[in-house]
């Protein structure tokens, strides 16, 4: 039973990240392979605050989200100044720089050894340790994220972002501040990623740079692409499906030496196939 609970918890956390990536890449149209870095920063901040008993879980999550909001906005600003393709390299650069910092700043992030022994989350004084409590916490956070995402997309903000995606110039001509709208989208994406980081740190009780590297960002992109861009359904289906893949693969017993590389191979094939035949993913709109 624990397995399904931890699978659901991890999937819920990745849904929050899916929402974050979807907001940035799908809706605001800003290419990003550095969401895992922001996710990591959120995780390290909450871990640091909890391990040194500076504050309890909820305030730590708020601090982490606020920091990630600022960080994501800072990261996205070049995208607004630099033309599309240049930002691709900047985004790769930001991810690799973040990984270098996570790995080498031993004082702050425990460096390559990672941070073991992160205290579990506590809500209103009650520590949540068992898988049952954790899954409730994460699914609850996921639900909150989805409601927020749904509200945003229904509100004028969502319509504004959809219009910006089609023709920025026309939106500016209609008297709207395009820059502010994009920055708000990046801010929301940062909040989602930061809170997801906090949940991840307390769920695993051990984090190290390998969970926030370039492969993690590419996996996030794959989840959005396969699940479906720009929609709530897409951001939910993607993570649940792709996290199940490794498990499904081990059921069909191909020799374990090949099985491992095969899974990464399938991610690659999925990316190509969906881009060729179904760019809008399972439940999304055209990228």
């Amino acid at each position: 039973m624990d397995f399904w609970l931890s699978y659901a918890t991890l999937a819920a956390i990745y849904v929050l990240l899916g929402l974050s990536t979807n907001l940035l890449v799908g809706i605001a149209g800003i290419f990003s392979v550095s969401q895992a870095a922001v996710f990591g920063v959120g995780a390290y901040i909450v871990a640091y605050l909890l391990m040194n008993e500076i504050m309890s879980f909820l305030p730590a999550m708020l601090v982490a989200s606020a920091f990630c909001v600022a960080l994501n906005v800072l990261i996205t600003l070049p995208a607004l100044r630099v033309s599309g393709d240049y930002f691709v390299v900047t985004s790769f650069g930001i991810q690799l720089l973040a990984t270098a910092i996570f790995t080498n700043w031993t004082a702050g992030t425990g460096g390559a050894n990672g941070l073991p022994g992160i205290p579990p989350a506590d809500l209103f004084g009650k520590t949540l340790e068992s898988s049952g409590q954790l899954v409730v916490l994460c699914l609850g956070a996921m639900a909150l994220g989805c409601v927020a995402f749904w509200l945003i997309m229904r509100a004028p903000f969502g319509r504004l972002l959809r219009a910006i995606r089609e023709d920025e110039l026309a939106v500016a001509a209609a008297g709207k501040n395009v820059l502010r709208a994009k920055v708000s989208a990046a801010a929301m994406a940062g909040a989602f990623a930061g809170s997801a980081g906090g949940l991840y740190a307390t769920f695993l009780s051990f984090i190290d740079p390998s969970s926030f590297d370039l492969d993690a960002s590419i996996l996030l992109l794959t989840m959005v692409v396969v699940g479906g861009a720009r929609t709530l359904a897409g951001s939910i289906i993607g993570p649940f499906l792709l996290l199940a893949l490794p498990q499904i693969l081990t059921l069909i017993d191909i020799p374990t030496t090949i099985a491992a590389a095969a899974r990464q191979l399938i991610y690659g094939v999925l990316l190509i196939a969906f881009m060729l035949f179904r760019p809008q993913g399972l439940a999304g709109e055209k990228l």
């Binding site: 903000f157 219009a163 110039l169 500016a172 209609a174 008297g175 709207k176 801010a187």
Partner: protein, 254 residues
């Protein structure tokens, strides 16, 4: 009383090409002024300068006494100037109603935080905004097509929608970039009637237009632009009968 809209000494050059050369003109409030001239005379460049999309190399633009130099496009729209585009630039995937709602002035709910923490308030504001947009659509005669996607509108209806979008910003000066081009006779009459009606409601229009018949019917005043410079100004009849201008514009044949 300072001029309603005045441009003095505008200079704009792209690399070697001098789009506007010492271009100055004024527009009276409440009148329909047509901007005519051969292709490449700088008509659209003037629109881009007035609406803040393009910063001129030198020269100033002022509206009701306040200078627009250096203002951001959205501030100029807030000051009361809206424009349309020659290639329409409508939001094809959105409905006609949504196209208009996007142009409505700052609404609650355009900030994500408001949308999340005060959803009821935003929902109410939404319905109010929807009614307002419907009124604008009705005003241009598109009420029936409100919920259709722009893709399914006829070219004439799309032209009307661009004007509706300009109106939705609440602007009093509308810069219309070839509103009549490519329209059937019936659609042409419909749009000309709309422009006259807007003028009667106190709007001021600055219209770029090639069709001399349209210019004659609606223009109170005509500005003749050539190679980025104001060559002449006067009533439609004066401009069209002037042989020198005709030479430049029609290559001699009236």
């Amino acid at each position: 009383m300072s001029e309603y809209l005045s441009a003095t000494g505008l200079e704009v050059s792209f690399g070697g090409l001098r789009a506007l050369q010492d271009c100055s003109f004024t527009v009276e409030r409440g009148r329909i002024t047509c901007l005519v001239g051969p292709n490449g005379a700088g008509k659209t460049t003037i629109f881009n300068v007035i609406t803040g999309f393009l910063r001129p190399d030198s020269g100033t633009v002022s509206f009701q006494g306040t200078s627009l130099d250096g203002m951001k496009p959205q501030a100029i729209v807030a000051a009361g100037i809206a424009r349309t585009f020659q290639n329409l630039r409508l939001f094809v995937d959105l409905t006609a109603l949504d196209n208009v709602i996007v142009a409505l002035p700052a609404q609650t709910g355009e900030e994500p935080l408001a949308a999340i923490f005060r959803p009821l308030h935003v929902a109410q504001a939404q319905t109010k905004r929807r009614e307002e947009a419907m009124r604008v659509l009705d005003h241009v005669g598109l009420a029936a097509r409100a919920h259709d996607h722009v893709r399914n509108l006829s070219y004439g209806e799309q032209k009307l929608l661009t004007v509706a979008r300009g109106l939705a910003t609440g602007a009093e000066l509308l810069l219309l970039d070839e509103p009549a081009s490519g329209l059937s006779a019936a659609a042409l009459d419909q749009i000309m009637a709309l422009l006259r009606r807007l003028q009667s409601e106190g709007k001021t229009l600055l219209v770029v237009e090639h069709n001399t018949r349209v210019v004659q019917q609606i223009a109170d005043e005509v500005l003749f632009l050539h190679q980025g410079h104001l060559m002449a100004r006067g009533t439609p009849e004066q401009i069209i009968s002037d042989p020198a201008l005709a030479d430049i514009y029609f290559g001699g044949a009236i």
